[in-house]
Symmetry: C2
Subunit: 136 residues, 2 copies
DNA sequence: TTTAATCGTAACAACTTTTATTACAATTAA
DNA sequence: TTAATTGTAATAAAAGTTGTTACGATTAAA
């Protein structure tokens, strides 16, 4: 991946986990990451959809974790931000008249899936709680 | 990763492995992938630097494998095309006055390195020979 | 009831990365 | 000498990423 979304979402969740029971505003979180608060709100929207955080609008609004931080894994974050396979994209339009071109995408498909599975399984074993505990 | 370079380089190597001892032109290889031959030549240049292929210029020129396909692993390909970590980029400029902002990049650094290592180790165990053998 | 803070979201701009393409000098086998 | 090929620069086009502004809707508190 060539973006900062995983790092951003982990940062957001780490802030929430470190301030359990408090409504943190997107502005406040953004100022720790040093990015635009709109970017934070976009990610928070996805985190809400997945039931990981709950958000309250209006004055004194903000977000907090909806689940215990021991019940959130980094694989949840990965699934949220994943928009490409670990090994990248296939070349669509390979030549069907070439033996290699004809079959390679099916072979690459299997390889890509296994590689992604490996990463997800690894991240599944790391909870937000464990990750944040390192900060203390 | 959000590009096709891994798929492209594997395709190139698969073609060369499937035609051992023959000089394949970048045009010929490109026509199987259905991309521009210049893209193929760029990747071939990197493969040469790493001693994986040898290229001959001029008429009847082209490329062939320099190593046995059983001595080339997909980790070699990954190392060649890798330009970002599996989990993406860190947010540089995090707030040093925030306990999370201050430490998160060091924590993420460890996580990113372990994840990348996992992928490389997996790919290390797959040779080009094995991969190409699937086509037969 | 009013005010002020906050979210949600659209719209757009700026920047970076990726891919495609053209062109041509240098090289080499026939 | 010719024709095919590589190497590479230059540039353009497309796609992806990040930053920013703006503003309506919502909500707690004064």
């Amino acid at each position: 991946m060539n973006n900062t979304r995983f790092a951003t979402v982990v940062h957001i969740l780490a802030m929430l986990a470190d301030n359990e029971g408090e409504w943190l505003s997107s502005d406040w979180i953004a100022s720790s990451i040093n990015i635009n608060p709109v970017m934070v709100r976009k990610e928070l929207g996805l985190l809400q959809e997945r039931g990981l955080v709950v958000t309250r609008k209006g004055k004194e609004g903000g977000s907090m974790l909806q689940k215990n931080s021991a019940e959130i894994s980094l694989a949840d974050v990965y699934a949220l931000v994943k928009n490409a396979d670990v090994l990248g994209k296939k070349n669509l339009h390979t030549n069907p008249n070439c033996p290699i071109g004809k079959q390679i995408n099916s072979e690459l498909g299997g390889l890509f899936a296994k590689t992604d599975g490996l990463v997800s399984a690894y991240l599944q074993g790391i909870t937000l709680d464990e990750f944040v505990r390192q900060f203390r």
